[in-house]
């Protein structure tokens, strides 16, 4: 693939181009310690394993049905920590604010951050605020970093995913991306689609408490959606993942919007969902555990890992045929008609 002349929005969309950018520009310079390219890192201090993660948040509009950039910034980092099998504990919080930003909105976002941290049981322990000239930021950006302690029972690593594993998700897909898109474009779809933005730390905690190292890998399908997550894991573990379209939970309204806009719901971002790969023998137990909690009540077993050796994701359609699920490529753009 040729090197880009300029960075386009597609480089930030979480698909192949994002991977390529990181692999070519940053990894060769920075990855000296054999770290993996996960959303969070696990570092050890003696016997204690600590998960460490950082994420910057931009979203337009800043306020959307089901959340805002403040709560999103908390949930995003909390979830990245949880994906390592860790209990999120401390957050840093940094704002980059565009000159002229309404103080009342900032106040609301502060309250929203506070409410989300309280709900997630994390504490903001350090922070920063910068104001930049008008035009140098789109309203406001937030960066959060987080620390959490990895559960001693957890052994979470995409490489542990193997044939026979069951693939689960804790709820409906494509909700956040469609909610934000509808809010941004003021699309009237006959009712409000609400973002799924939420912490999944509680579901992860229960899952690991119940199943320990039978939980092989966890990933949150944010940018690039479930399609990106599955392809990443298939690539890292070198396995074929087969999902079943009929088992994918999706709200009819969300499916409808995706249909109209020509978007593949598998590629649309979630912000309160995670995909779990668990040993096939405990699939039902994992499902029951997830469903026992609010953020997992619509959980489903969506597929399984079938074979080792070829990294690929495919989907059984309701017709009994099979289609490929590719790594999403760039920004999601609605089609013409």
């Amino acid at each position: 693939m040729k090197k880009p002349q300029v960075i386009t929005l597609a480089h930030g969309a979480g698909g192949l181009l994002s991977q390529q950018l990181i692999a070519e520009e940053f990894a060769p310079l920075l990855m000296r310690g054999g770290q993996g390219l996960n959303d969070a890192a696990v570092v050890s201090f003696g016997d204690i394993r600590v998960a460490f993660s950082t994420d910057s948040f931009t979203v337009s509009p800043l306020f959307f049905p089901g959340g805002d950039i403040g709560s999103l910034a908390v949930h995003g980092t909390v979830n990245d920590i949880a994906m390592m099998g860790a209990e999120p504990r401390f957050l840093s919080l940094a704002f980059v604010i565009e000159e002229g930003f309404p103080a009342a909105d900032l106040h609301h976002l502060g309250q929203s951050v506070a409410a989300a941290t309280e709900h997630c049981g994390v504490t903001v322990v350090t922070g920063d605020t910068k104001v930049v000239e008008r035009g140098a930021a789109d309203g406001l950006f937030i960066n959060t970093s987080g620390l959490g302690v990895v559960s001693p029972q957890a052994d979470i690593e995409p490489a542990r995913v193997q044939p026979g594993d069951a693939v689960l998700i804790n709820g409906t897909i494509a909700q956040h991306g469609t909610a934000v898109m509808c809010a941004r474009e003021e699309l009237d779809v006959g009712g409000e689609i609400v973002s799924d933005s939420a912490s999944v730390a509680d579901v992860v905690r229960e899952l690991i408490a119940a199943l320990g190292e039978k939980v092989h890998a966890l990933r949150d399908p944010t940018r690039g959606g479930v399609a990106a997550t599955l392809n990443e894991v298939a690539g890292l573990a070198g396995v074929t993942i087969e999902i079943d379209q009929a088992e994918l939970p999706i709200a009819p309204q969300v499916a409808g919007v995706c249909e109209i806009l020509g978007l593949d719901p598998l590629q649309v971002a979630c912000e309160g969902r995670f995909v779990a790969f668990v040993d096939g023998s405990v699939a039902e137990q994992a499902l029951a555990t997830m469903r026992s909690l609010n953020t997992g009540r619509e959980a489903a077993i969506i597929g399984e890992v079938t074979t080792a050796g070829s990294a690929r994701v495919q989907m059984r359609t309701p017709l009994g045929t099979t289609c490929l699920v590719q790594m999403p490529t760039g920004e999601l753009l609605p089609r013409i008609c």
């Binding site: 002349q5 597609a10 181009l17 390529q20 999706i250 017709l319 490529t329 089609r335 013409i336």
Partner: protein, 364 residues
């Protein structure tokens, strides 16, 4: 992912597939004209359900794919000159001969994805000191809303809104396709959305030439049903225009939408990517609305620009080649950095095959 369950029903689909197998004897090639059909065929792996003698070939019904490169180039040039450009989403990554609009946007050009032409009109209204150009691309489906946008701009007396008109019409392209010596088409799956506007009558000349036409919906069961209707007509030596997509399409189409289009646009000869110049195959603004013509306002000179070297989109759009026949498919040409337009839009034949069925490559 159940939304329209009835039309994704596995049992029903298998039942129809069995019926298709019964009526197909001789080898048959049906063309799905519309990109949304190509997408559904790939996405649902429908070719797995057809008997070997039956082949579906993709046609020219992907709006960005048939938009000639000089139109993209003109848009790029405008955006580079500081004109604000409003586009439908899948235009963003289409390669022109000097890059794509997403690159221009990254370099600071004002390029905005809109969902309806009225948003472009509003954008112009809110920014009276900027020139806003809307790229009017698409078939009979998008033309009505663009026409409404233009008459609205006219009523508002907007002086900073124009349209780069590149609308194309489907039936003339189909007529040109059946005259090709190297592509045999035994029947047409006609586009559902386009037909909701134009009705079934415009396909009659094709039926008169002996080619059955079925207007089809976009769910897998719709497509299977329509294929069965075509295959049965072939078996019985009949050629009629039939409507499978009855829940949306009426024989008379949507006369009100057609009136809106006729008020603003007139039929004109147009160039298509892959198919070249075809008589009466597109739209241009009527005299009364020429003030809204970006080509005139910015003195654009739309000379035929070259196709990307090595790209077989032209042959793919005519049904003469399959995406996998292109030497660049899946190697140099990927959705991330498409060489030709067919790899861009979710409607594009190359993108559909790459995205969903490259694994079965050779099937189509």
């Amino acid at each position: 992912m159940r939304y329209i369950d009835e039309y994704q029903d596995g049992d029903k689909a298998r039942e129809i597939a069995a019926q298709i197998a019964e009526v197909v004897g001789e080898p048959l090639a049906f063309m799905e004209v519309c990109g949304t059909h190509s997408h559904a065929v790939a996405r649902y792996g429908l070719s797995e359900m057809f008997p070997e003698q039956l082949r579906l070939i993709s046609g020219p019904g992907c709006p960005v794919c048939v938009t000639p490169p000089e139109v993209i180039d003109a848009g790029i040039e405008l955006a580079r000159e500081g004109i604000w450009l409003a586009i439908f989403g899948d235009m963003m990554n289409v390669p022109g001969s000097q890059g794509s609009l997403s690159e221009v946007q990254a370099q600071g050009g004002q390029v905005r994805v809109i969902y309806s032409p009225m948003q472009a009109v509003e954008w112009a209204q809110e920014n009276p000191h900027e020139q806003v150009v809307f790229m009017g691309v698409g078939f009979e489906t998008t033309a009505p809303s663009v026409a409404v946008g233009i008459s609205e701009a006219n009523e508002l007396g907007l002086k900073n809104f124009t349209v780069l008109v590149a609308h194309r019409l489907i039936p003339p392209a189909m007529e040109a396709l059946v005259s090709q010596p190297d592509v045999r088409i035994d029947g047409f799956l006609c586009p559902g959305h386009v037909s909701a506007i134009i009705g079934s009558k415009p396909y009659q000349p094709l039926a008169d030439r002996g080619i059955p036409c079925v207007i089809a919906g976009f769910e897998p069961v719709d497509v299977l049903q329509a294929v069965y209707m075509l295959a049965r007509m072939c078996q019985q030596g009949e050629a009629r225009v039939m409507i499978q997509y009855r829940r949306v399409v009426r024989a008379e189409g949507n006369p009100i939408a057609r009136e809106k289009v006729a008020e603003v646009f007139e039929v004109a000869d147009c160039r298509w990517r892959g198919l070249g110049m075809m008589p009466d195959s597109g739209l241009r603004l009527r005299e009364k609305y020429r003030d809204f013509d970006a080509e005139a306002r910015f003195a654009l000179d739309l000379q035929a620009a070259p196709e990307p070297p090595g790209c077989e989109c032209g042959a793919v759009l005519r049904g003469a080649k399959r995406p996998t026949d292109c030497g660049l498919f899946g190697t140099a040409c990927l959705p991330d950095h498409p060489i030709g337009p067919c790899m861009v839009s979710s409607e594009g034949a190359c993108a559909a095959v790459y995205q969903y069925e490259a694994v079965r490559d050779g099937n189509r």
